[in-house]
Amino acid sequence: MSRLARYRVAFWTILVKEVRRYLRIWVQTVVPAAISTALYFLIFGQLIGSRIGDMDGHRYIDFIVPGVIMMAIINNAYSNVVSSFFSAKFQRHVEEMLVSPMPNAVILLGFVSGGVARGLTVGVAVTLVSTLFIDLQVHHLGLTLAVAVLTATLFALGGFINGVYAKSFDDISIIPTFVLTPLIYLGGVFYSIELLPEFWHGVSLFNPILYMINAFRYGFLGVADIAIGTAFSIIGLFIVGLYLFALWLLERGVGTRS
């Protein structure tokens, strides 16, 4: 068997193991996102949204659905990898992989793909929930899927780096709580940045999540606050940068080898 074929088997092993892991505990991994987003759609979309009126030319509930789906994808892609990799370190079963001949890139891609898989699984669940509230239209299916996969990849990489550095269970919740959640909420999930005063509009443009949510919304509704090309460039740059950094951490053995 060629070296490439062996690495392909190793990659699939990690991916299948990761998918089995989150499906085994689906009540903890898939259901909460579906319930909380159903509440978002009900409260913000239907009850309050009917009084808000249109946003960027669309009903408020139609406007928030893509952002809420993207929020679920980001959170789940990140949390899957950070919790899985940290648990592997904590229980030391990451050593199973470290003593094996598979390259660090395969380990990284395996974990990241697991995070992407969970992000997309939850994204599909939330999308299905949204159809209970709206008649879902997709303006650009290919673009929507591309943004979903790339954004999930970006945050899965972020979760991996967090998992590498984490030394306690507190460390895996600090970034999601104090960094990710504010950036997501301020990234235009519930509003268009056109509503903001000029200063805060300018500040918002430094929030990378704004570009992802808007590109995703463009895929559904055909409207966005930013240029789609810029969004793809930013997502691509972050993916390349985070991938190289995560791989460097593994090669150096940061957090994994003494």
Binding site: V9, T13, K17, A88, H93, P101, S258
Partner: protein, 316 residues
């Protein structure tokens, strides 16, 4: 004969300044059953960690079946199986899945990994537990699971770090049998253990490491021959009124029917029994006071300590 493992001037200094390995050189031949012994903190686990890529070395080189860890890491690792001292599997995974996944990390597809998992789980008495979660296994079963996991990719070199720690005697003996068979089939085995009886019983060659340095590296027979005095315990058929004088064999009474006798290498046991016979003493059973390797081990470590103290004293 091929060298299974070669360490050359292996060094490790941790970030806190602790020099765990001070230039360890060691060679293990293919097919050997090799004991790596040493007191706690001597550097055994660091050395094993470096060989298994779990610890970064500070200097020196490691070759596994001729493959340099620095130059051809993947090829070197493919030949290596590790049974670590502490449980390091995912306790939330089913037993069989742990083995199939481990095979997958080595590029072995499930179609091949599943029959291998079945073979090793059956050999190690875990087949009926294959669908159960690893956390539900007993301590002894967990140890056997780690051995099965280390074998599923069929390594040529198996390193066992304290494989029988906390395992009951019956299970320990069955694990010894299994390891002997594995070695007889050609797998090179390196064993670290605190049960010196285990090392003496299983291993043909031995290295003792202390304070990050190899203090002894020889075959078991030569090492045991260095022991020039052994103490035997004799159980007598009848109580003894007074200790007789056996000349070259100094006797000590443990109780009325039990004696301790020191036998040096210059005198054989036939002479001892002839002396006992002359005094009308009938021996019903005989045993070593302590394991022979244990006596040597303690002596070597003590000598090392004395050398260390001497050097320190000389410098002061």
């Amino acid at each position: 004969m091929t060298t299974a493992l070669e360490l050359r001037d292996l060094r490790k200094t941790y970030a806190n300044g602790l020099e765990a390995l001070k230039g360890v050189s060691l060679s293990v031949r293919e097919g050997d059953f090799f004991a790596l012994l040493g007191p706690n903190g001597a550097g055994k686990s660091t050395a094993i960690g470096i060989v298994c890529s779990l610890v970064n070395k500070s200097g020196g080189s490691v070759h596994i079946f001729g493959h340099d860890l620095d130059g051809d890491l993947a090829a070197a690792k493919r030949h290596l199986g590790l049974v670590p001292q502490e449980f390091n599997f995912n306790v939330w995974e089913p037993v069989e899945e742990i083995l199939v996944n481990q095979a997958g990390y080595y590029g072995i597809p499930a179609s091949e990994a599943v029959p291998r998992a079945e073979r090793y789980l059956k050999q190690l008495g875990l087949w009926d537990k294959r669908h159960g979660m690893a956390r539900d296994l007993s301590g002894g079963m967990k140890r056997r699971l780690m051995i099965a996991r280390a074998l599923v990719h069929e390594p040529r070199l198996l390193i066992l770090d304290e494989p029988t720690a906390g395992v009951d005697i019956e299970l320990r003996r069955s694990m010894w049998r299994f390891l002997r068979e594995l070695n007889a089939q050609g797998t090179t085995i390196i064993l670290t253990t605190h049960y010196l009886e285990e090392a003496e019983s299983l291993c043909r060659n031995i290295a003792i490491i202390d304070h990050g340095q190899i203090v002894e590296d020889s075959d078991m027979k030569s090492l045991l021959n260095k022991l020039n005095l052994q103490t035997l315990i004799l159980d007598l058929a009848e109580p003894l009124a007074a200790l007789p004088d056996l000349g070259h064999f100094p006797l000590r009474g443990v109780d009325a029917q039990t004696l301790e006798v020191d036998v040096s290498r210059e005198h054989d046991l036939n002479a001892l029994f002839a002396a006992l016979d002359r005094h009308g003493l009938r021996v019903v059973s005989l045993r070593n006071k302590s394991n022979r390797l244990e006596e040597l081990f303690v002596r070597l470590i003590e000598e090392g300590k004395l050398r260390g103290h001497g050097a320190a004293g000389g410098g002061a």
